[in-house]
Amino acid sequence: MAEIVLMRNFSHPDSHTLNAYRANGGYAAWDKAREMEPAAITEAVKKANLRGLGGAGFPTGMKWSFIPKTHTGPVYLVVNADEGEPGTFKDRYLLERDPHALIEGMLIAARAIRCTLGFVYIRGEYVQPWRRFSAAVQEAYDAGLLGRGFDVIVHRGAGAYICGEETGLLSSLEGKKGWPKIKPPFPAIKGAFGQPTIVNNVETLCCVPPIITRGAEWFAGLGTKTQGGTRMYSVSGRVKKPAVYEASVSITLRRLIETAGGVSGTGRLKAVVPGGGSAAILTADEIDVAMDVDGLKAAGSMIGSAGVVVMDESVSIPEALMVLARFYAHESCGQCTPCRESTGWIYKMVHRIVDGRGHKEDLDTILDVAKRGAGTTICAFYDGAVGPYISYIEKFRSEFEALIPHA
């Protein structure tokens, strides 16, 4: 296993407190960064090859550099802590066990983008993580770390997966329903409350302090050529030791499953979701793949939020798709017709297939609808739904057909 960077403090019983964080070298990165030129911070993050760990994998330093240099008004930093991708639970651990790492990452990022106000949007269901993180913010204020040029507002969501989509999140932060916004303009140009805004994931920002203290080259060297660092893989489903595991982004899926104790149930692997519910499924033959942004892309899937869901041979793939299709039907925000309509109808069709009432043309209809709708909507939600629709059916078609009378 690679070096432990993000979870370095987790084993300490009081890891969420300022004292424990400081005792373990916490806020040394901030002490260093506050002496650095903002552009030098962004340059270090670029050199570190840090890529967004919330889902899209966009290069973080490049994102920061999109804030218009000529802008004279406020700039906002928004932390996406609206964790909701099926199979993902890493940010919950960071909020509960190392909240000061996020605050320190925010302080450094805020200096880089010349921002004086940050928001942390935490999903409404995360009551304990919200309390933990809010207490840490209070500690940081009391210690004078916050409130001297940078303020943090902790904002609770109210239950909606779409608010994990960055522009949906911004709508929600503005007190509206969480409808995504058309891009461009991208948030870095026109984001929260109409001002340039950087939206970063919790884990992404937690990578920033170690980059500053230990150097961009060191961080880049932990990963692959195109993505630096380690990341936290959430591993669940049919494995013997479901948990969050930190590893180099160069780890293979096979090795990661072994690390999680290997396949449980029948012990024989059937399929794996490699990057959260919206990632295309991989078969047992496709797991010698590097778990970084580009490795999964080359394999026709995506690393997304690095939520790994393992399925042994006893798992029904049609049933798994039905569960995900229900999720997409429920969570579609309803703004774009292709997504609103297709997610509902596809769920009904997969449901009737699983119930043994499928029609023989259903599979081709689902594939046709999925392929035609992809890329036609305001945000990536529907594209995320299409990944499972197509891959589950194309890779396990015979399993679906076996459930359809007269197929």
């Binding site: 991708e85 099926p86 106000l117 609770r156």
Partner: protein, 180 residues
């Protein structure tokens, strides 16, 4: 109100439809109103405080009735329709009074693989209601919900504010006994 006075006719029809409770006076205390103003001043636009204030309203009034929506709308100088579209968009705002406890079982992928259907069936049996309903004695509202992101401890549920992990039928029985 930027869009006319609060509509008493809406309120009357809502009461007729049984959607709100005419006996309840909807208003925050002075201290709460101070908190509303503090929250509104934090955001670059006061409307940013709408979700937090709706959370406060739900904690105070038990749920977000149409009257509560109208009341919150006045605090933000918004049309009640704008508050209504926000309240109805999110899953955590209750539009009817929920039970004294809320048991929300995750039925997404990892929990499904770990036996969530059995947990849901057990709860249906024990509570005598389907997901989405509240027991007749008003003790428990039973919901099925999408991924709560605690897949390492599947199957799981949220019981009020807490995550209850690695559920079994026996653990469900013990949990239910603790809910009064």
């Amino acid at each position: 109100m930027s869009h006319g006075q609060p509509s008493t006719s809406n309120r009357a029809s809502a009461v007729r439809a049984g959607l709100s409770d005419p006996a309840t006076t909807i208003s925050f205390s002075e201290a709460q109103l101070g908190e509303v103003r503090r929250l509104q001043s934090l955001y670059p636009d006061a409307r940013g405080a709408l979700l937090p204030v709706l959370h406060m309203a739900q904690e105070t009034f038990g749920y977000i009735s149409l009257e509560a929506e109208e009341y919150v709308a006045t605090l933000f100088d918004l049309s009640p329709a704008h508050v209504h579209e926000v309240v109805t968009f999110y899953t955590l705002y209750f539009r009817e009074r929920p039970g004294r406890h809320v048991v929300a079982v995750c039925h997404n992928l990892s929990c499904h693989l770990a036996g969530a259907p059995g947990i849901i069936a057990h709860l249906k049996d024990k509570l005598g209601i389907d997901p989405g309903a509240t027991t007749e004695d008003g003790r428990v509202t039973f919901l099925t919900v999408e991924c709560l992101c605690a897949c390492e401890a599947a199957p799981m549920a949220q019981v009020d504010d807490r995550y209850e992990l690695n559920l079994t039928p026996e653990k469900i029985d013990r949990l239910l006994e603790g809910l009064r």
